[in-house]
């Protein structure tokens, strides 16, 4: 059911006028705190607004992420945008439509239910009344609280939602300038910042004359504590300066990382905060026990563009242009970190390259703002280098996961334990009472860092996201070792802990099925009583010919993986076909997904396909390594991701469920893809690799360990 209870965004921004205005003839301005990060959200939200208001798609002006005009919706993350941001817009627009109809009826001396709206014009008995939204906008007060009670459209009557509307942002992107990096500003001062190589590192020497020489033009150097910035009128000169500074700067102190950071042994040796959550009936705890340990390394989000921000300080007001995922939150924390009042700061969202989590956009916003305060009147522009993107960005954390099952007579799990070792998956601005801006940490008198916590289970969990297996398990135990003292900004990347947990759980399911001598899909179905997930599993099995093609020949195999993202969002089941010799070649992927009501089917497929490719990249290739205390990656050669020549053909089927609520789907295919690859490799090699990534190195070691 599509529920009408008030979503969080509407509780936080209760006035209709915070969401909507009719201040431009023929156009309705709808605000959203959600921002475009390449997922097509601006298009999808405008579709919802057009649907409920009975205006055309083109009449909606969706204003996203401008703190002066848009509601505060925190961060665009966790597949919440449609589920919560979209639900708010649906309720607001439905209510506004009702209010306008009542007002129009009063003026026309008829009943509201005699009127209908088309393209924003009001009709009575099929005849244009000459009235439209804009004509009576002055008579309808929108400074009132949303009640959430106005009737919304029935999905069966949708005209705009569910249609493939071309993305509004794409035409500019295939033609030329389109991103924050491309803004042409007056009176620009270009800046680059030297980053600390590890947390708390102290700058003990910097040969400034070498840096100035390398810049090949006069530059200004700003030094405050360990924050060092280079400034000039042309970007090329500060690029050269920063590059030279990286190689001549000498650092001491702080908390350099050991080379084995991220391995299961290292994780288990860290300070931990432990908790146990037990559910289900106390049942059999003795019997055949099976257990296995899985892991994933540190990863980076790896946006193709680097971070960029512009800031201008004039007459006590700071204006910031940023590709942040949380304009309103960043505004608040910029103000705090810079000792300004929030009312002095405005943040304007502009698009950057795809963000798949907590990237460096917020850090760049701080860099630019900090420098702007010291150069009033100038527009300070900061862009990060590729090296800094790798070495200075928040990391997606390594995890170790152990699964243990006590099996009953028919080899089904009677008692199930998942034990997780992981630093937190959330250190966005404000998360632990710290700004968490990289630049702010480098300043003299930087506020002490508070101990970090992970995302609570009620909000989807961080390390525990998808830790609860979706199967019928009579007794479940979660042991969570949260590691709060790891000296890294571990933060959110697409799916947080979900895909590692899904990799572990789904690998374990295959291992249990093998012990039971059953087909992995059949075994799972015997533990899935709910018809909705069963349908997803059965659909992908049918698409891929799972039951018809058990053996594919030497070194080739199918693998299966399934999950419901966050246990409350969209379901996705994936089958992959691979061929392995020294390396894995991913040949084909099939995916069935149930995301409830789908606003933009083509956009949904696009997201699912992107998630499959990213999941394959995570599972097969990606890993951050450490050397000399710091992250040992300067470019893509050190951190390969899946390329054109490695991308498989992909078949996606969206299961039609228009009467179910829209479920977040941006992250749903990642975990099942990782798991399906792991399972296919195990079937092809006859030996299982339980540590991601499944690289050539690991395959060789596994094969040689025979």
């Amino acid at each position: 059911m599509i529920s009408n209870s008030l979503p969080q965004s509407l509780i936080d921004n209760p006035l209709l006028s915070q969401w909507i205005a009719f201040d431009e003839p023929g156009r309705v301005r709808v605000g959203s705190g959600r921002v475009e990060i390449g997922q097509g959200i601006v298009t999808a939200l405008a579709q919802i607004a057009a649907e409920e208001l009975d205006v055309t798609f083109g009449q909606v002006n969706l204003v996203s992420g401008q703190t002066d005009f848009s509601p505060n919706e925190g961060f665009t993350s966790g597949s919440y945008s449609i589920a919560i941001g979209g639900a708010s817009i649906r309720l607001v627009c439905a209510e506004v439509r009702s209010l306008f109809l009542e007002r129009a009826a009063e003026k026309l001396g008829c009943k509201a239910n005699e009127l209908s709206i088309e393209d924003g014009r009001f009709f009575r008995a099929g005849k244009d009344t000459g009235m439209d939204y804009w004509a009576i906008a002055g008579d309808v007060a929108l400074d009132r609280r949303a009640s959430g009670t106005a009737p919304t459209k029935l999905p069966s009557s949708y005209r705009v939602v569910g249609k493939n509307i071309p993305r509004v942002d794409l035409p500019a992107k295939v033609a030329g300038a389109a991103f924050i990096h491309d803004i042409v500003a007056e009176n620009v001062l270009h800046a680059r910042v030297l980053r600390q190589p590890w947390r708390g590192a102290r700058l003990v020497a910097l040969d400034e004359s070498a840096v100035r020489k390398a810049a090949k033009a006069p530059i200004e150097i700003l030094r405050e504590g360990n924050f060092v910035a280079f400034m000039a009128d042309a970007e090329i000169n500060v690029m050269r300066a920063a590059e030279a500074a990286r190689s001549v700067a000498r650092w001491e102190g702080g908390e350099p990382l050991p080379d084995n950071a991220g391995t299961p042994d290292w994780l288990k040796a860290q300070v931990a905060r432990d908790r146990t959550v037990e559910t289900g009936l106390k049942g059999r705890t003795e019997g055949k026990v099976f257990s296995a340990r899985y892991s994933r390394p540190f990863l980076t989000y790896g946006s193709i563009g680097t971070a960029c921000a512009l800031a201008q300080f004039q007459d006590g007001a700071l204006k910031v242009w940023s590709h942040t995922q949380g304009p309103a939150v960043v505004r608040e924390w910029l103000a705090r970190a810079l000792s300004l009042k929030a009312s002095q700061v405005s943040v304007f969202h502009r698009q950057g390259a795809g963000a798949y989590g907590h990237n460096t956009a917020d850090d760049a916003a701080f860099d630019a703002s900090f420098i702007a305060l010291r150069h009033p009147g100038r527009t300070v522009r900061v862009q990060w280098s590729r090296e800094d993107e790798f070495s200075g960005a928040p990391l997606s954390t390594a995890m170790a996961i152990e699964l243990r099952a006590v099996l009953d007579h028919d080899n089904k799990p009677a008692d199930w334990t998942i034990e997780i070792w992981s630093p937190p998956h959330a250190q966005r601005p404000g998360y632990n009472g710290n700004s968490n801006f990289a630049g702010a940490e480098a300043l003299p008198n930087a506020p002490p860092l508070n101990e970090v916590g992970d995302v609570p289970d009620e909000r989807g969990g961080g390390a525990t996201r998808n830790a609860y297996a979706i199967y019928d398990l009579p007794r479940h135990r979660l042991i969570h070792h949260m590691l709060p003292k790891v000296p890294l900004r571990t933060s959110s990347l697409r799916g947080l802990g979900a895909w590692a947990n899904v990799f572990a759980i789904e690998s374990f399911m295959d291992e249990l099925a093998e012990r039971a001598g059953e087909d992995p899909v059949t075994y799972r179905l015997s533990l899935l009583s709910d018809p909705r997930p069963r349908r997803v599993v059965e659909t992908v099995a049918q698409m891929s010919g799972w039951f018809e093609s058990k053996t594919l020949g030497e070194g080739r195999a199918h693998g299966f993986g399934f999950a419901r993202y966050k246990n409350i969002a969209a379901f996705a089941a994936v089958v992959v076909e691979i061929e392995v010799d020294e390396e894995i070649c991913l040949k084909r992927v099939w995916c069935a997904a149930d995301a409830g009501l789908v606003i933009t089917p083509d956009g949904a497929r696009n997201q699912i396909e992107g998630g499959i490719i990213m999941g394959a990249s995570f599972a097969m290739k990606e890993q951050i390594r450490f050397k000399d205390g710091r992250i040992a990656a300067a470019g893509w050669d050190d951190y390969p991701i899946l390329r054109f020549s490695e991308v498989p053909e992909i078949d996606i089927r969206l299961i039609d469920a228009p009467n179910e609520a829209a479920l977040g789907l941006g992250e749903t295919s990642v975990g099942p893809t990782c798991a399906a690859i792991g399972n296919a490799v195990a079937r092809a090699l006859g030996k299982r690799i339980r540590d991601m990534p499944l690289t050539r190195e690991r395959i060789m070691t596994t094969l040689l360990a025979e």
Binding site: G38, L170, K173, M239, A353, G610, G611, G635, F644
Partner: protein, 159 residues
């Protein structure tokens, strides 16, 4: 001091003042204000900066402006003809081949060069031509379909 360089950009002769060691990318973006060519890595590892130099795709991040002197440079802004989108640009829109879109201008340049020398490329040939381009959003299959669609459209138009 250097006297700058002369080159032809998108069919227009220009004189640029930057010192000759300046990357072509910086000159295109900052001096000529052609901002569709993007910085991604600066080390020939991602392809976002791809331009055509005398018709051949090359990395503007590492080519110096001096090395392009006297040559003809085509950027994404030069693909459209008389205000009409290049068939590739149209095909990318028709296939909705993009998420964040940051990689697209570089990919379009390489794809344009491919279709220039091979009117009906196979999937494998498209993959080979685009393999130096990274796309983190996972748009590869859509991009391949878009190139195939453009190739079909161009063949249809020529017939």
């Amino acid at each position: 001091m250097s006297k700058g360089c002369d080159l032809v950009v998108n069919g227009r002769s220009v004189h640029v003042d930057a010192d000759e060691a300046t990357p072509l990318l910086a000159v295109l973006r900052d001096e000529l204000n052609l901002r569709g060519t993007r910085f991604g890595c600066g080390t020939e590892q991602c392809g976002t900066c791809m331009v055509l130099i005398d018709g051949v795709p090359d990395f503007a991040c590492t080519r110096t402006v001096e090395s392009a002197a006297g040559k003809s440079v085509t950027t994404i802004e030069g693909l459209a003809c008389n205000g009409a989108l290049h068939p590739l640009q149209q095909a990318f829109l028709d296939e909705q081949a993009g998420q964040c879109g940051y990689c697209l201008s570089g990919i379009l340049i390489s794809a344009a060069a491919l279709l220039e020398r091979n009117k009906r490329p196979s999937r494998a040939e498209i993959v080979e031509a685009l393999d130096k381009h990274l796309c983190r959003c996972g748009m590869h299959n859509r991009v391949i379909r878009a190139v195939q669609r453009a190739s079909a459209a161009m063949a249809g138009a020529a017939a």
